[in-house]
Symmetry: C2
Subunit: 343 residues, 2 copies
Amino acid sequence: MPELRHDPIQRRWVIIAKERGARPLQFEGELRFPRNSSCPFCEGMEGTTPLEILALGPPGRQPNTPGWELRVVPNKYPALQVEGNADRRGVGYYDVMNGIGAHEVLIETPRHMQHMAEMSPEQMARIFFAYQARLVDLKRDPRFKYVIIFKNYGADAGATIAHPHTQIIATPVTPRTVSNELTSAREHFRLKERCLFCDILTQEMESGARLAALTDHFAAICPYASRFPYELMILPRVHSFDFAGERSEIVQDLSKIMHIVLKRLRGALGDPPFNFIFHTAPNTGHSLRRSNYWDTIQYDWHWHVEILPRMTQPAGFEWGTGLHINPVAPEVAADHLRKVQVA
Amino acid sequence: MPELRHDPIQRRWVIIAKERGARPLQFEGELRFPRNSSCPFCEGMEGTTPLEILALGPPGRQPNTPGWELRVVPNKYPALQVEGNADRRGVGYYDVMNGIGAHEVLIETPRHMQHMAEMSPEQMARIFFAYQARLVDLKRDPRFKYVIIFKNYGADAGATIAHPHTQIIATPVTPRTVSNELTSAREHFRLKERCLFCDILTQEMESGARLAALTDHFAAICPYASRFPYELMILPRVHSFDFAGERSEIVQDLSKIMHIVLKRLRGALGDPPFNFIFHTAPNTGHSLRRSNYWDTIQYDWHWHVEILPRMTQPAGFEWGTGLHINPVAPEVAADHLRKVQVA
């Protein structure tokens, strides 16, 4: 019998339909890469990107020249633009504002094809330190209400360039998925004086059925109401609301669990396309304007990373209803992932 | 400058980023079809599907034999199952219910490859009459809160079988996108004593900029805050809340505008993968239990069809934020579509 499961964080129903897993479906992730004739993110191509915002490299390296380990540059085709003001206004029944924001690309490595699972935890930690640096910088801009960090791996996960990179987008609105999570967390805190994410984590640690990996400071779980097969959520084990403020030891441990989890996904599924998304704390520079949101944010928000393997194609049903059909129960996915040995 | 536009129906922001349309992106829809070794929906294969629920054919035809024009059968791999009760219950912090519902497949034609745009309006009207018949029947079951009718065309739109078909799913919960729309429409009606959809339609008819097609009884518009390039919404021009109750003349006119719109999409974009979704009235059999929802439904709900061409791949940003980036302004899409001559 399929089940409808409710996610208390996003407050959405998901259909867990194990029976549909029996369909004649290609399930081992078949990875397609975007075809680009030449790669603007490779070493030696620094002249083809906008000027770099941040780079890691040897002392004495000149900006926008080879020799770097990691670069952050503005997106050449930005979804949002840095200059100007939001200027919210009405257009008849509609509302509109200028598309201000920031859209940056973090080139993770000079190597054109290096899966994040093949990176050492140290290399990955450098990438995460760069995320922190960009978050701190972008959160200073009072026009931006949120900064989202995400990665698209594989054409079927929306990547248009194969070279390993992360995108960072600052938006002039708090995105709906984040405000949904904020609302649930806030209401739970009002009722219980406890963090919703901490409560869920306690329950998951006791059960163990959906636990996919564990390190000193992090737990990776397959959420009870996973939308996608093998979906994962990585949470700090001790309450923490702000990724940008995490100390070095914690960031290094994050790279350790990310390394384990990405290796396990590859071991279990081949080489699936995936997205990951950092749900960090919303920008607190707005405390005066939106005080009801931010007064208890350090107690009720719990930052986390979502990893979404993209082996199923959301179709008319998902777009038309907001419901998802997931053919793999998260308990089955977690069990499968735990069994993958990571050297 | 990109714009953030707000959709007053779904209450969501969309980024209209015309600048990104300049990216080196494959834009003419490249259609991939699922590869099936043999087709269970073709004439002569009636034995491979579950027993038919409804069929159109010549008088005297035996059920589950060739000779049909259209068949409705249960989905062989249903997302939801007909037997049982929802049995809502808690599991720690989570909620769960049994996955009861109905999942049917409407095989639109015996011909394996026939695009809906190639069907005559008469043939299409027969399909829509069959939708009505299934809606009326499924809405009798008080366990079902909503019936969604949708079509996936092309592998990139989530189709797993190439043969033309529509899916019909009855769910034990009101889906979130529908309840969002119901809430917006209800609150607008309380404030104005007018239908939100009618108000939007009036504004769109006056402007004309986003109008893609018009018939006696229907208008097709590219919504102001379209998530997808060339997204369309078809609305009855005179207020009407219930597709299932529409009389024959109206259904025939719906098939006329659908024919025009699908032809125009093909003419403008090649042969793009797409989804369409019928947002019909919610099931009114629940009037006693949920009376606040249903008391004014005939005044504040306005049924409609959404058509979503699927030329862009939602990625980490969309899944992580709920925001969409659309590189084609709906005014540009509507203008392009209007210029396509339909014989």
